[in-house]
């Protein structure tokens, strides 16, 4: 909006937005809105303009407006994108077509029901699994990890669960039980973490009938990922780990040990003591 106030060039772009209201019982329809667009305006800015000035009933999901929260994933001009990271000018057209993410049920307008992805994500146990449960529950120190160790998984830790990869996956489009790129890439994210010892627990889930072997390696998930996670690569690495496991070629790494207590360090003056732990004290 600031650009328009400062006199930057403004053009009118047509937003063709798919609308759906379950209470209507009329199915989805496409509604056109004429939106004034200035340089730097994103598709999310355009949708906000529609809601504030043209049609207050339009629904979508958004939060951070800076590509961090993953809320505004939607189908924009033929592919899943984050509305807050997609500038209207970069689309290079006077018509912006906006639909909810495919492969998910639609709650209303541009709001998909991501529940299936969250359930699948939960199913691969996306957290550190170790045998030292007491340490996990009541941590006394950090687990050691070198920068090189972190490089093995950090790319996959950038996932913001926007669902763009799931919306682009052609396998998921025909098989709703397929786990999909988001949960599978997160399974690899934790399997590749040297602090984790949960490969055995995740193995049955990712190698099941609906697991990695359904992937056709179309690669669309990696094409559309707004954070560069490359889920297709993660899935191939999960496949490799599974094959190596069956062929008994996989070396079971020893999970990272606890870091030794810091020696010779003193708290700086004026820095207060940490509060007592709240977990596990009942």
């Amino acid at each position: 909006m600031g650009d328009r106030e400062s006199g930057a060039a403004v053009t009118t772009v047509i937003f063709r937005v798919q609308r759906y209201a379950p209470e209507d019982g009329a199915g989805s329809r496409v509604v056109e809105y004429r939106v004034p667009v200035a340089d730097g305006m994103t598709v999310l800015d355009g949708l906000i303009h529609v809601k504030e000035r043209l049609d207050g009933s339009l629904s979508w999901r958004a939060s951070c407006r800076m590509g961090i929260c993953g809320s505004c994933g939607m189908w924009i001009n033929g592919r899943p994108r984050l509305a807050c990271q997609t500038q209207v000018a970069e689309l290079g057209t006077g018509v912006v077509q906006v639909r909810p993410l495919p492969n998910f049920p639609v709650i209303r307008d541009l709001v998909p029901d991501l529940g299936s992805m969250i359930e699948k994500h939960r199913g691969i146990r996306p957290y550190l699994l170790r045998r030292d449960l007491d340490e996990l529950e009541r941590p006394t120190a950090e687990y050691t990890q070198t920068p090189a160790d972190m490089e093995r998984y950090v790319q996959f830790a950038y996932c913001i669960k926007c669902g763009c990869c799931m919306g682009a996956c052609p396998t998921l489009a025909t098989d709703v039980r397929y786990l999909g790129p988001q949960p599978l890439s997160q399974a690899h994210r934790y399997n590749a973490d040297t602090r984790d010892d949960g490969f055995e627990e995740r193995r049955e889930v990712v190698s099941a009938s609906a697991g990695v072997w359904r992937c056709h390696f179309a690669g669309e998930c990696s094409e559309v990922c707004p954070k560069g996670v490359d889920p297709a690569l993660a899935i191939q690495r999960v496949k490799r780990e599974l094959v190596f496991h069956v062929l008994r070629l996989r070396r079971r790494p020893t999970p990272a040990p606890l870091a030794p207590p810091a020696a010779g360090l003193e708290r700086r003056p004026g820095i207060p003591e940490p509060p007592p732990p709240t977990a596990g004290t009942l």
């Binding site: 396998t171 025909t174 098989d175 709703v176 039980r177 193995r203 049955e204 190698s207 099941a208 009938s209 697991g211 072997w213 359904r214 496949k239 599974l242 094959v243 496991h245 069956v246 062929l247």
Partner: protein, 126 residues
Amino acid sequence: MRETKFWILHMAAGLVILALLGTHMAIMHLGELLRLVGVGPGSPIEFANVAARGRLPIFMVTYIVLLAAALFHGLFGLRTILLELTLSPRAERAVTVTCWGVGVVLFLVGAWAAVAAAFLLPGGAS
């Protein structure tokens, strides 16, 4: 881990098919190429030559291995396609059992033909 084992067998069967089909192509066409320079044997597709090869135990084994590899590779691929129709777990089991059943029956019939050609027909290895 069953799916992982199936997938590994699928890939292994593909490699076997690649090697044995390469051998098949060489047998079918190398003779023609050799004949161009005047040193080739008779046509590999003449009945007498086909029957003669079938009587050799090495060819019998090769035919049986190729049959097993092709059946597994093809039927596993068919099963994969069918499972992507989002079947119920019960239907998935039925597809798997049917593929195994069809595969075993076809393998037995084909293997019997190879064994019969090698050992039971006149002039066979026995």
